[in-house]
């Protein structure tokens, strides 16, 4: 069973329906005891980093998620949920994240190296480039996925970069270290590849459970 962390921000409905289409049982909850029973967590998120961290801290969910991740429970952050896994973000001033992954979220410059301006948010379908093998990308081919974001992660470790997209520079798209994963795009809105990636995460969760 997957536990979708409900802290008041995020497109929970679409994520939960995607799991239903995959035939994966889930709960949506803000209750730590309930979420502790889940074999893997999904941390969704739409909105601002500061507001999200504030809610996670107020509810004690931030320390719960960190604790669960450190105990080896699989965690997948989606969109803002992925950025929350990192050390900090520059959105609305510098704010501390969950710190499960090394790196920080910064705003797209909006101006390329030659001084030409480009559009922010990075919105639409962009192609993934796979960097190294991961249970998340196993058996899948590089295709387009749907992005909507104005901040992107930088300073991540090379080993944690599973896939990226090119938007006036390398944009980390799938990240992961041990049992902690993130997707900058919306897998639940990204057609077959998105569903494939989400399916791989749920299979990973299942396999981890069997190994226990």
């Amino acid at each position: 069973m997957i536990g979708i962390v409900d802290y008041g921000m995020g497109n929970l409905f679409s994520v939960s329906k995607a799991l239903e289409r995959l035939g994966v049982p889930y709960i949506i909850s803000d209750n730590k005891e309930q979420l502790a029973h889940a074999e893997g967590l999904i941390l969704p998120g739409v909105g601002a980093f500061r507001d999200a961290m504030k809610l996670l801290n107020e509810t004690g969910l931030s320390s719960f998620i960190v604790d669960q991740a450190q105990k080896g429970k699989p965690v997948l952050g989606i969109c803002l949920g992925m950025q929350l896994l990192f050390e900090e973000s520059e959105e609305n001033g510098l704010h501390t994240g969950l710190g499960l992954l090394k790196g920080r979220a910064v705003h797209f410059d909006g101006v390329d190296k030659s001084g030409t301006s480009y559009k922010v948010p990075h919105m639409g379908w962009n192609r993934l480039v796979f960097h190294h093998e991961s249970p998340l990308t196993a058996g899948l081919e590089e295709e387009h996925v749907y992005f909507v974001h104005s901040y992107y992660v930088t300073g991540e470790t090379k080993e944690s970069l599973i896939a990226s997209a090119d938007y006036f520079g390398e944009v980390p798209a799938v990240v992961g270290k041990d049992n902690v994963f993130g997707m900058q795009f919306h897998p639940e809105k990204s057609g077959d590849l998105g569903m494939g990636l989400l399916g791989n995460y749920t299979r990973y969760v299942k396999n981890m459970e069997v190994l226990k």
Binding site: N11, F13, M123, G124, W125
Partner: protein, 252 residues
């Protein structure tokens, strides 16, 4: 590289898609989910649902439509029409819409854009602009209420203001081009796209595949929206995309 988006627009009234959809293979051309699926399979990059219900009940039904589409399809979509409050936005976004589109309500109360962007993030807030060339002022004028009422507002300036308030995308309809099928309005789209920092969806005037190439290359559009040419199968999304690829435009 980010691809250019092709977006079919569906008018929904009291929960049913209206305005001549002529897909022969559909069992029920009025079913929003069935149409959304058909467009998804053809390669649509996103969908826009415009709620043209006149009644309160009709608007309530739209929330069900949004839930049904989000339940069955992995495709991003925007809902517009009659959204007046944060509460309206909340209902639609919670039901699985990715973005909401504001038009008249944002013009009557521009602060609604900021309130929405602060609450949900700019990426959820699309501002739709209906614009028409006005010889007397030598530029494009903004209209409200589905193009019925002219405002003392200039389209490029309004687009910039909307973005400053927090709009994450502009859906720009040329009233001069709409329904004519002689191509999108390149001048208007280019003027707005170069004036704002967010993506611009061009709308109004699509008649053939070449029109899409033109609006992406010369018009600097980030996405292009069309209704009737897709609904009446005058061309298909696949055909448009094949043409764009040939012309070197990056599409999915």
């Amino acid at each position: 590289m980010l691809t250019k988006r092709i977006i079919p627009c569906l008018d929904v009234k009291e929960g049913r898609v209206v305005k001549g959809i002529q897909f022969l293979e559909l069992r029920d051309a009025g079913d929003p989910v069935e149409l959304a699926r058909a467009y998804d399979e053809q390669g649509a990059d996103e969908l826009v649902f415009l709620d043209i219900s006149a009644s309160h009940e009709g608007r309530e039904t739209m929330v069900d439509v949004v839930q049904d589409v989000a339940s069955e399809l992995a495709i991003p979509f925007t809902v517009g029409g009659g959204i007046k409050t944060i509460e309206d936005m909340k209902r639609l976004l919670r039901a699985g819409a990715d973005k909401v589109s504001l038009n008249t309500s944002a013009l009557l109360d521009p602060h609604l854009i900021k309130a929405g962007a602060d609450y949900f993030g700019s990426q959820c807030i699309v501002v739709a602009i209906d614009a028409k060339w006005d010889e007397t002022i030598g530029t494009w004028r903004v209209y409200t209420h589905g193009g019925r009422n002219p405002l003392d507002k200039e389209a490029v300036a309004w687009a910039k203001e909307a973005v400053d308030l927090g709009a994450g995308e502009i859906l720009l309809t040329s009233m001069d081009s709409d329904g004519e099928k002689h191509g999108f309005n390149v001048d208007l789209t280019k003027a707005v796209s170069e004036a704002v920092t967010v993506p611009v969806i061009a709308s109004g005037g699509a008649g053939c595949s070449e029109d899409f190439t033109e609006i992406f290359t010369e018009g600097k559009a980030d996405a292009a929206l069309a209704a009737s040419i897709f609904h009446y199968e005058e061309t298909s999304i696949a055909e448009v995309k094949a043409h764009l690829k040939e012309e070197g435009v990056n599409v999915r």
